[in-house]
């Protein structure tokens, strides 16, 4: 049986279909999950996709964090369910305290949309094993609340434990501290990043690169081998 990967749709989610498509292209079965349902439909992993959940009112991801689906997700993520948060999904994971730190408005205050170069720092997470540490990739970035911040102690801890999963290269697009583009939890099952791997899985579309595909093949390999 093929791996089933859930994609949560909140009011204001934008990239749920692209994410489902990326999962299908990687060879897994995407399962649509609805923010009002507590039921995770026994999926093997979950992606929280990009967009502006609940309009990003209050703070990005702050209202989504209290939706019914998140009750189940928080509990299961703590028990080891692989969860990937992309952009707004990353913001939701920090608001849920599944990942440390939080996101502020970009330091230049502009919405940004660019092809972003990243370095994969950690290839031991559930979502990055098909990369190698130090690998440089290009995937699209689009956000206005993308400035990653945390206190110095937390940042030092993240660095020491190898939990900075991705770093911006060449350009820091939003003022993120220590050029951090993505982080992982201690167990490596929860990963969040601001750029969008689901938009870089087909050579015909966008930048022509498929540098985002390994996210989805990594998790598939992990689930199939489990």
């Amino acid at each position: 049986m093929t791996a089933r990967i859930g994609v949560v749709t909140f009011p204001g989610s934008l990239d749920d279909r692209d994410t489902q498509r990326a999962i299908r292209i990687a060879g897994a079965e995407p399962v649509a999950l609805w923010h009002k349902d507590k039921d995770l439909k026994q999926v093997d992993a979950v992606v929280l996709c990009g967009g502006f959940s609940y309009g990003d009112y209050l703070r990005a991801g702050a209202i989504a964090r209290f939706s019914p689906v998140m009750e189940s997700l928080i509990e299961q993520a703590k028990a080891g369910l692989p969860v990937l948060g992309i952009c707004n999904g990353f913001q939701i994971l920090t608001e849920a305290h599944l990942l440390p730190g939080t996101m502020l408005r970009n330091n230049h205050l502009h919405f940004i949309c660019r092809d972003q170069k990243l370095r994969v720092e950690n290839d031991r997470t559930a979502w990055t094993s098909d990369y190698s540490a130090g690998q440089e990739i290009h995937i699209p970035l689009k956000n206005i609340d993308g400035q990653y911040v945390a206190d110095e102690r937390t940042l030092d801890e993240l660095e020491a434990e190898g939990r900075v999963a991705f770093r911006y290269l060449d350009v820091n697009p939003n003022g993120s501290l220590r050029d951090i583009a993505g982080v992982t939890n201690e167990a490596g099952n929860v990963v969040g990043l601001m750029p969008h791997p689901e938009h870089a899985v087909e050579s015909l579309i966008g930048t022509g690169r498929t540098d985002g595909l390994p996210f989805f093949t990594s998790i598939l390999k992990k689930l199939v081998n489990a």
């Binding site: 703070r59 702050a62 502020l104 408005r105 003022g175």
Partner: protein, 87 residues
């Protein structure tokens, strides 16, 4: 009925780009002598029934878990009596 006001501000050590953008506009508008601006949020909660210690404790919890993100923000809770004041 009473009103409880929750003020949320970014912690002093957190960069506030919105406040900075406002501050940079001030000289253009002819306002001189303002060296810093920080922008926050104010929530006005209309509370049914008495604002006793229990109610305030619940609002404090609400502010801490939802209205403010304590990773980056501080908050204060204060009671503002409205209309039918205490007799």
């Amino acid at each position: 009925m009473a009103r409880v006001v929750v003020d949320v501000m970014l912690k002093p050590e957190i960069l506030d780009p919105q406040g900075q953008a406002v501050q940079r506009a001030l000289p253009r508008l002819g306002f001189d002598g303002i060296s810093d601006v920080r922008q926050g949020k104010r929530f006005e909660l209309e509370v049914d029934g008495p604002v006793d210690e229990a109610a305030l404790a619940r609002i404090h919890e609400l502010a801490e878990s939802f209205l403010a993100n304590t990773v980056i923000e501080d908050f204060t809770v204060k009671v503002e009596e409205v209309a039918e004041a205490v007799k």
